[in-house]
């Protein structure tokens, strides 16, 4: 069962990597596909990672990718609205990562 999961995830990642190499696509689509590929590879680590610390590191990567998505959107559409979303997500990811770290350390979350 575990082997099947690994094979499925690796096939997904390879498919995403291959998707953006072929053809002549506009540069922003290529950039989106690159970031999506990176997020799926981090998702692999999120699934596999033996401890919670590994999953927290993978969540960091995915969160920063999401922040970068918002910034790219803001640059493409020339609206400063999307950067606000990125800032909010950066805050939330920071707090979430700290909560996971504190819980794994064994401390109470309110002390």
């Amino acid at each position: 069962m575990r082997l099947l999961r690994y094979i499925g995830a690796v096939a997904l990642a390879i498919g995403l990597v291959a998707a953006h190499v072929t053809g002549s696509v506009p540069w922003h689509e290529r950039l989106y596909s690159l970031m999506l590929c990176a997020s799926f590879l981090a998702l692999l680590r999120l699934m596999i990672g033996p401890t919670s610390i590994d999953r927290a590191a993978a969540l960091k990567v995915i969160s920063v990718i999401i922040v970068n998505f918002g910034i790219i959107l803001a640059a493409l559409t020339h609206q400063s609205l999307y950067v606000d979303i990125s800032i909010a997500w950066a805050f939330q990811a920071f707090i979430g990562s700290l909560v996971i770290a504190k819980y794994c350390e064994g401390k109470r979350l309110d002390a």
Partner: protein, 113 residues
């Protein structure tokens, strides 16, 4: 002028995307949790810096650029704090006994010169 600037901006953003992919791949390749945390802090934030630089160059308006720089400053400040917290938790999970592996100097061998 805008053509050249936007070409540099697009090159920066694509390099940033490539660095993101490299950091995600290196998440999968390392054996321990500590290098993974280091990569997600250093290499991935570097990729974010490249993308923000490209976005600031591409969008010629000051609103987008300044806000994106604020977002970058926030990411730069919070990423090492997260890394510290995660590494502290990892070190505690490994057990304190493994940290005392450094050789202690023998106090009996010191001669008075």
């Amino acid at each position: 002028m805008h053509e050249t600037t936007s070409f540099i901006a697009i090159a920066l953003m694509l390099t940033g995307g490539g660095c993101s992919v490299v950091s995600a791949v290196s998440l999968l390749r390392f054996d321990s949790a500590a290098p993974r945390i280091a990569v997600s802090t250093k290499l991935h934030v570097f990729a974010s810096m490249l993308i923000v630089a490209g976005a600031v160059l591409y969008a010629e308006s000051m609103a987008v650029g300044l806000k994106a720089l604020c977002c970058l400053c926030l990411t730069l400040i919070t990423a090492p704090v997260e890394a510290h917290a995660l590494l502290r938790a990892w070190h505690k999970q490994r057990g304190h006994g493994q940290s005392h592996g450094a050789p202690q100097p023998n106090s009996g061998h010191h001669e008075h010169l």
